[in-house]
Symmetry: C2
Subunit: 154 residues, 2 copies
């Protein structure tokens, strides 16, 4: 279902005078396969290309609007396909324990409220908002389970 992102990506790269090389395609496929934001290290392992190429190509893909950089709670940058290439706008669940980042979709009603807020801020603060970030921080299911296991010692 999400395999025909490639033509769109090729076009987007071409618009920017960039080639859709095999290395870049590999990066994209890793990201498509993951379905969640990946760290550079994760991309490196799964994509098996040189570290420098991974970083360089992620930068190119980001500049062309193919890939989006996600800031989590740890020191690692994470990357995912741009929202307009996949299904839709989404947000992140960020685990403050293990750093994992997962996607989730917010109700349309909430998105509408945030958009209204953006317009209001633009008007009052002279800030031209063009997108937003709405993330939840907490403990993922896995870390939550680990907590309970650890509690047995208490």
């Amino acid at each position: 279902m999400a395999d025909d992102v490639h033509p769109a990506i090729a076009a987007r790269l071409d618009d920017d005078g960039q080639r859709y090389t095999s290395g870049r395609r590999k990066l994209v496929e890793v990201l498509v396969g993951a379905g969640r934001p990946l760290t550079a290290a994760e991309v490196l392992v799964e994509g098996d290309l040189a570290q420098s190429s991974a970083y360089r190509n992620l930068a190119v893909l980001e500049a062309c609007g193919v890939v989006h950089r996600v800031a989590g709670s740890d020191e690692f940058a994470r990357f995912e396909l741009a929202e307009d290439l996949t299904d839709h706008h989404h947000h992140h669940l960020i685990c403050t324990s293990c750093g994992a980042v997962a996607d989730f979709t917010a109700p349309e009603r909430l998105e509408a409220s945030v958009d209204a807020l953006a317009r209001q801020v633009a008007a009052t603060a002279g800030f031209a908002a063009d997108h937003h970030r709405l993330d939840l921080f907490g403990r993922c299911a896995a870390c939550h389970a680990a907590d309970h296991t650890a509690d047995h010692d208490t």
Copy 2:
């Protein structure tokens, strides 16, 4: 008005077996004075203490819940006083051009919606959310003005 944060901070540090040294007080005062998240570099300049002390004390203050780390769109970590020491919960306007981060407050109604969302996610995804981040990205007033100036050449 916001100068009596010190007793609360001292107490919070004390609870953690930490001292409220002059260096730490200086950091806090710089952050109070700024009224917006500051990078480590900004704190260093205004607080004039050793780089290592600044980072170390920011880490201590963060661990004690006095200072909160804010991720912007650039590579610099930013720090601000914890929300429960200042007035209230707020969000950030992040300039994608110069990286500046400013505070703003969202309508109560929106916060309520986000909280409801958090509860819903907790229930469906097994994710225990404890706080959220709602930030707007765009161009700040200054960068916006600079754009217009540059447009004169067009």
